[in-house]
């Protein structure tokens, strides 16, 4: 299969997988299968998807190094943007369905409650990353682009903290996600020589 077709299929798969969760949530809503805690279900699932997709994005570079499938870089932006998309949906669900746009309570949450503060900060951090994700910006920022986009690790870390602080007693999944994150971060940071070679190809 030639490279062009590879990329096309990869992008198609990413679009399908990216819109899949949203379609599923819409379907659950339409068929009244959200369960008894509808708002919480939507909120949590959107948060879960955002985290999974962002972690997938962080896995791309380690995967490229391990497998040599450099074509994966062609979907990295798309994956990142989908992560931001679900995170924004998560935030909007919180604002509209959960808080019913009661700005007094929202302001209190976002400024006084640690779990909400870090969650909000994570989303804010991703905004400049989403905006500068285009090729135009890559050119404009040059070397600084790479440095700026390392902030995604900070954003995801804040998101993990938000997740961990938000649960009442069951810390299993936050800890699993944190473990995955640490592994990916380690893989990213470690093999320096391989990293230099690959970056030459970009």
């Amino acid at each position: 299969m030639n490279r062009k077709r590879q990329v096309l299929l990869l992008k198609l798969a990413t679009w399908v997988l990216g819109l899949g969760p949203l379609s599923w949530l819409v379907w659950l809503t339409l068929t009244r299968q959200l369960g008894v805690d509808g708002v919480d279900t939507l909120l949590h699932k959107m948060g879960d998807f955002a985290l999974i997709i962002l972690l997938t994005g962080l896995a791309i570079t380690p995967l490229r190094r391990l497998t040599g499938w450099n074509v994966l870089i062609r979907i990295q932006r798309l994956v990142g943007l989908f992560g931001f998309f679900y995170l924004t949906l998560h935030f909007l669900t919180y604002l509209v369905l959960d808080q019913t746009l009661d700005w007094e309570f929202i302001l209190e949450d976002l400024t006084k409650r640690p779990y909400a503060v870090v969650g909000f900060a994570a989303w804010l951090l991703l905004i400049p990353l989403a905006v500068t994700s285009t090729r135009g910006w890559v050119r404009r920022l040059g070397k600084r682009w790479q440095k700026l986009h390392r902030l995604v690790y900070v954003a995801v870390a804040l998101g993990l903290l938000h997740f961990y602080w938000q649960v009442k007693a069951d810390t299993l999944w936050p800890l699993v996600a944190a473990t995955v994150y640490v592994v990916l971060l380690t893989l990213r940071v470690l093999p320096r020589t391989a990293s230099n070679r690959l970056q030459g190809e970009q």
């Binding site: 809503t29 008894v36 805690d37 708002v39 369905l97 959960d98 019913t100 209190e108 007693a169």
Partner: protein, 328 residues
């Protein structure tokens, strides 16, 4: 608090067509209704006597009933499918799904500690001396949601009086069944098992405090804490321990499970208090669950939270001089 006497209540409210009630007998029970009404909530009379007539199935249109503040009741379905009962899982829908096979009989309750009449009692013997009452109470969860539910039960005071606590007894401690085979949620230590709760003795003997064996005129389903659970309507719901197997009179303050798990978030007294926020959310308002909560696009129904969950005129005196911010 509104004590409703029979002539206050329009007959359309009390006797909708689906209700088989002897009207004359209801009015004759007026004394019982008023006296029982002094304890709190709206009482529908003594459950067993009023509704259980020979051979007749009791049917009450609960949707017509109101709390003493005029609030609508939640439906039986809402109250029995939206539950926090970590012994069967941490999701709200877990208990109804995973408690179906739980067998709440035979069941025995141990009474221990600083009392004159300790012992172990079969459930039927334990509740037989008491008269069941139906009480419409607000249930306010610490998570800031609430429902209005008609519990069926009897005053905890009945049991305490029979046990005869000694002068050393300052508190009552309750314990839930520990059996991971029958309670799958206990296979993981999300909380330290078994679940423990407690009350100060005056709180335990307060007329509003009941042991519930049913709701909506029916036996407690497993997911609501069958066969016996505690209801203290002016406190957060987690104080309402379910599946009780032991009561112990103690001198020292009990260490309740949520206070052990997260001491800076959950305390012993846990009085509903809009002025003292939970560290992670406001307690000034609550999501009063309604059909819209479970509707097509689920919606919150935020209403202001009342001090002591609206039972302040009957319970506030027990906390005179106490700093409710430190004793949360």
């Amino acid at each position: 608090m509104l004590i409703r006497k029979p002539n206050d209540i329009p007959s359309s409210e009390i006797t909708p067509e689906s209700v088989y009630v002897d009207r004359r007998r209801f009015i004759a029970d007026a004394t019982k209704l008023t006296v029982a009404g002094a304890a709190g909530g709206v009482l529908l009379g003594q459950g067993r006597d009023l509704f259980a007539q020979e051979g007749q199935v009791q049917q009450v249109d609960w949707s017509q009933m109101r709390s003493e503040l005029g609030e609508e009741l939640n439906s039986y379905e809402q109250a029995t499918t939206y539950n926090n009962y970590y012994e069967f899982g941490t999701g709200k829908g877990d208990p109804v799904r995973r408690a179906q096979d739980f067998e709440p009989r035979p069941w025995s309750i141990a009474v221990e500690g600083a009392c004159a009449n300790p012992g172990t009692f079969d459930l039927e013997d334990f509740i037989r001396p008491s008269t069941m009452e139906d009480r419409i109470y607000r249930l306010r969860c610490v998570e800031a949601w609430s429902m209005v539910i008609p519990w069926r039960g009897f005053p905890l005071k009945d049991v305490i009086d029979r046990a005869a606590p000694t002068g050393n007894a300052k508190f009552v401690e309750f314990t839930t069944l520990y059996d991971p085979d029958r309670m799958p949620g206990q296979r993981r230590n999300v909380l330290r098992w078994p679940y423990v709760e407690g009350l100060r003795l005056d709180e335990a003997t307060h007329p509003l405090t009941i042991l519930a064996t049913g709701l909506y005129g029916r036996d407690l389903p497993n997911q609501n804490g069958a066969p016996l659970r505690l209801i203290i309507p002016w406190k957060y719901g987690f104080k309402g321990i379910k599946g009780i197997v032991k009561m112990r009179f103690t001198e020292r303050i009990p260490r309740n499970s949520w206070a052990i798990a997260t001491p800076h978030e959950y305390g012993f007294y846990a009085n509903v208090n809009p002025e003292v926020d939970h560290p992670r959310w406001s307690q000034a308002r609550e999501d009063r669950l309604s059909a819209a909560s479970f509707g097509f696009i689920p919606r919150r129904n935020w209403i202001p939270t009342r001090m002591f969950n609206g039972y302040g005129d009957q319970v506030a005196h027990m906390y005179d001089g106490m700093d409710l911010r430190t004793n949360f």
